[in-house]
């Protein structure tokens, strides 16, 4: 099951974050979708702060590393998906600082306890670390304790992106999950449609 940048954009669109693709190209290598124009200028991968609202690389790496743990093992393309989502999400000023803080603190804990960046730990250790911090049992609270904030800004942020996206939803049998404007037709079908032949973007087909 392959996650794409497009999946992330669909979830972001559902959350009202649009126009994200433009700023993404500032640090993403060009893809088949974006090579149509301006490869030279747009295609370069920038460093930290190349766009004002782009979160630091370390944060994106921490989020990707967390995504690899909280997503099912069948998920591929996690890195591109999470990066796209995180960049789009942090364009919302009310979320940006809190997400950056939570991810940074998680990384700090990993360095303290495990002697390595969170993103550099083996997946099992990342999983264990999050559980040792009580993130699995914590209530998500945007301004709560560290484990509550990690639950809200890291784990639930990632789970929302995944299971509100058609590709994530498909894994459990729903291609038009709650929060995704997947049209007013899917509820009528007896089975999931074929993702190859259906536009699963945010336009709706109803």
């Amino acid at each position: 099951m392959r996650l794409t940048r497009r999946d992330a954009l669909a979830v972001l669109a559902g959350l009202g974050v649009t126009g994200g693709a433009v700023s993404l190209t500032q640090f993403d290598p060009p893809t088949a979708e974006s090579t149509g124009e301006g490869r030279g200028s747009d295609g370069e991968r920038g460093g930290d702060g190349d766009a004002d609202d782009t979160p630091p690389t370390a944060v994106r790496e921490t989020m990707v590393a967390a995504g690899e743990v909280v997503y099912p093992s069948a998920a591929e393309g996690v890195s591109e998906f999470v990066e796209t989502y995180v960049v789009g999400r942090t364009r919302d000023d009310s979320r940006r600082a809190a997400m950056v803080d939570a991810a940074t603190e998680l990384d700090d804990v990993a360095r303290d306890w495990e002697g390595a960046a969170f993103a550099d730990l083996p997946a099992d250790d990342r999983d264990r670390l999050l559980r040792e911090l009580g993130v699995d049992a914590a209530d998500p609270v945007p301004d709560g304790t560290l484990s509550e904030r990690l639950r809200f800004h890291v784990v639930n942020e990632l789970l929302y992106a995944f299971y509100a996206s058609p590709t994530g939803g498909r894994l459990v049998g729903i291609e038009n999950p709650i929060g995704h404007p997947g049209g007013a037709e899917s509820y009528r079908r007896a089975t999931m449609d074929d993702p190859e032949t259906t536009d699963s973007g945010g336009e709706g087909d109803g």
Binding site: V69, P140, N156, F162, Y163, V172, I178, G182, G206
Partner: protein, 526 residues
């Protein structure tokens, strides 16, 4: 923003839900000077914020209900969760509503004459019939004329019905065998673009928020009223209606704004449209030497006969995919048993398209992640079905809304007291609904069954009966035009005027009555 009162207003409307919004729009369009005072805020901007608040735990409710402003007491045998049952803001409770809309049946207007229970309306179905049609156009109701049990209608619905769901087709197999008729159900939701609003795009979160605008909310009529010249003042909490010395007319509505200032809005006519609980509270808070029991209350009926519809449900799991939670609304109901006489309470059945959990919401509450979580979601999603039902509760004097003078809100005003219980006759009707539901689910072979019956039931959040309509000023609060018997220029818009409430969701009837009220009120302005 300037929240001061407007000079030379013809009409002051209190409350900006559908009952206030529709009246405001009609009157403003006719050239009247209209002011709307709304206690709650305008929820401007992107509805995605509310979407996220709904789906993600930890963010609080989408419509900011339940603070000190909204304090209440529930003193009856059954707890009444008032703040789950309403929204304060421009658009009123339709911000949160589901948007199922249907007309009352003919018998609902004459239940006493036909069956010796309830209280008859002073008007009949035929009086409301053209206003029902107009209300359907205002809401943009999607529906089809395939319901053999519906009251007569002259014209098609403004929009085509949403087609039946896959889940409906599963129920249809059983219903066919059992002789239970399924049909479409009216939805105040765009099946096609209508009134400059989007068609449904399947967010699946209709209740409490539709980010696409496909679901009708009364914001639409409030905006149109403003475009036609009405002034809408949000965060303006009306605390008292003042009357003239003779006690014949209301002269002003006193309201407090967020800066703590209190203003007086004078007008020629006043329309109360605060919903079935706050209408009562405002009348009782407006007591005076002339009216020691509250305004418009010489009958003593203000606050009495509080009714809601009761929910009965049953569900479980099948051994095949049921495709739930793609959309947040229903596409089929059954009104076959509505007019039955034993028990006499009206009853309608719903076939839910949102049975069981949604994977994304489950995931956000889970205590694990990764493959473990996927296994859990695989197990929890995919095979649920459920049926709902609404059951009528007949008016009883001992179900009432009053004031709790011991408890005050943040402005120091006594809060509403809801004294409510579910009587045995209603319980019998709930059991009857469960019986029919059980026949269907048995036939389908549904397992892991759960039931919401008389012991678990709860209200459907329809506040009716508390300022009942009637010809006799001794026993009713407003007349057939929704004008108070006691005060010439005070009108009440909303389901508080329903003498008997049937079992149909009330808001289409609220809208029809509002349009009729607007016409009558307009005639008095000359």
């Amino acid at each position: 923003m300037d929240r001061s009162s407007v000079a030379d207003a013809d009409v002051c409307i209190v409350g900006a839900g559908p009952a206030g919004g529709l009246v405001a729009h009609r009157l403003a369009e006719s050239g009247a000077t209209v002011v709307v005072l709304e206690a709650g805020p305008r929820f401007d901007g992107d509805r995605r914020e509310q979407l996220e608040q709904h789906v993600r735990p930890g963010l609080g409710g989408p419509w900011e209900m339940g603070g000190p402003r909204d304090a209440f007491s529930s003193t009856g045998e059954s707890f009444y969760p008032l703040n789950a049952a309403r929204v304060k803001g421009v658009g009123g409770s339709t911000l949160h509503w589901q948007g199922m809309v249907m007309r009352l049946h003919e018998r609902d207007f004459e239940l006493d004459a036909r069956h010796g229970v309830g209280a008859d309306w002073p008007i009949g179905y035929d009086d409301l019939r053209p206003y029902y049609a107009a209300a359907e156009r205002e809401f943009g109701v999607a529906g089809a004329a395939d319901n053999p049990y519906a009251p007569p209608r002259d014209e098609p619905y403004p929009l085509p019905a949403f087609r039946p769901s896959h889940s409906d087709s599963i129920f249809a197999e059983a219903c066919e065998r059992l002789g239970i008729d399924m049909h479409s159900v009216g939805n105040a939701r765009n099946s096609e673009p209508y009134d400059d609003r989007s068609p449904c795009v399947g967010y699946g979160t209709c209740k409490p928020v539709c980010p696409s605008g496909a679901k009708y909310t009364a914001e639409s009529h409030v905006e149109k009223a403003e475009a036609a010249g009405a002034r809408v003042i949000d965060r303006a909490r009306v605390r008292r209606l003042e009357h003239d010395e003779a006690g014949e007319r209301v002269v002003a509505a006193a309201y407090t704004t967020p800066d703590g200032e209190t203003h007086r809005q004078e007008a020629t006519q006043f329309v109360l449209a605060c919903g079935g609980v706050e209408n009562v509270r405002l009348l009782l808070l407006s007591d005076s030497d002339r009216y020691p029991d509250g305004l418009a209350n010489s009958s003593g009926a203000v606050g009495r006969y509080f009714m809601d519809h009761l929910f009965a449900g049953m569900g479980g799991r099948l051994d095949r995919p049921t495709r739930q939670n793609h959309v947040g609304f229903n596409t089929s109901e059954c009104h076959q048993f509505y007019d039955d006489a034993d028990p006499v309470n009206g009853l309608k059945l719903e076939f839910l398209n949102y049975a069981g959990p949604s994977p994304v919401i489950d995931a956000l509450h889970a205590d694990t992640w990764g493959d473990d979580l996927l296994d859990q979601l695989d197990e929890s999603y995919g095979t649920h079905v459920s049926m709902g039902a609404l059951v009528e509760q007949l008016p009883r004097e001992d179900n009432y809304v009053g004031l709790d003078r011991e408890t005050t809100d943040d402005l120091g005003d006594p809060v509403p007291e809801i004294h409510w219980s579910v009587d045995e006759q209603t319980e019998a009707a709930l059991s009857r609904a469960n019986e029919i539901q059980a026949r269907v689910l048995d036939d389908l072979g549904v397992e892991d069954r759960w039931t919401v019956g008389p012991d678990e039931t709860g209200p459907a959040y329809h506040h009716m009966g508390t300022t009942r309509m009637g010809d006799d000023p001794e026993s009713s609060v407003v007349d057939a035009e929704c004008r108070a018997h006691d005060l010439d220029n005070l009108w009440i818009s909303g389901s508080s005027v329903f003498p008997t409430g049937g079992a149909m969701n009330p808001t289409l009837t609220i809208a029809a009555l509002s349009l009729r009220l607007a016409e009558s009120l307009r005639a008095t302005l000359g």
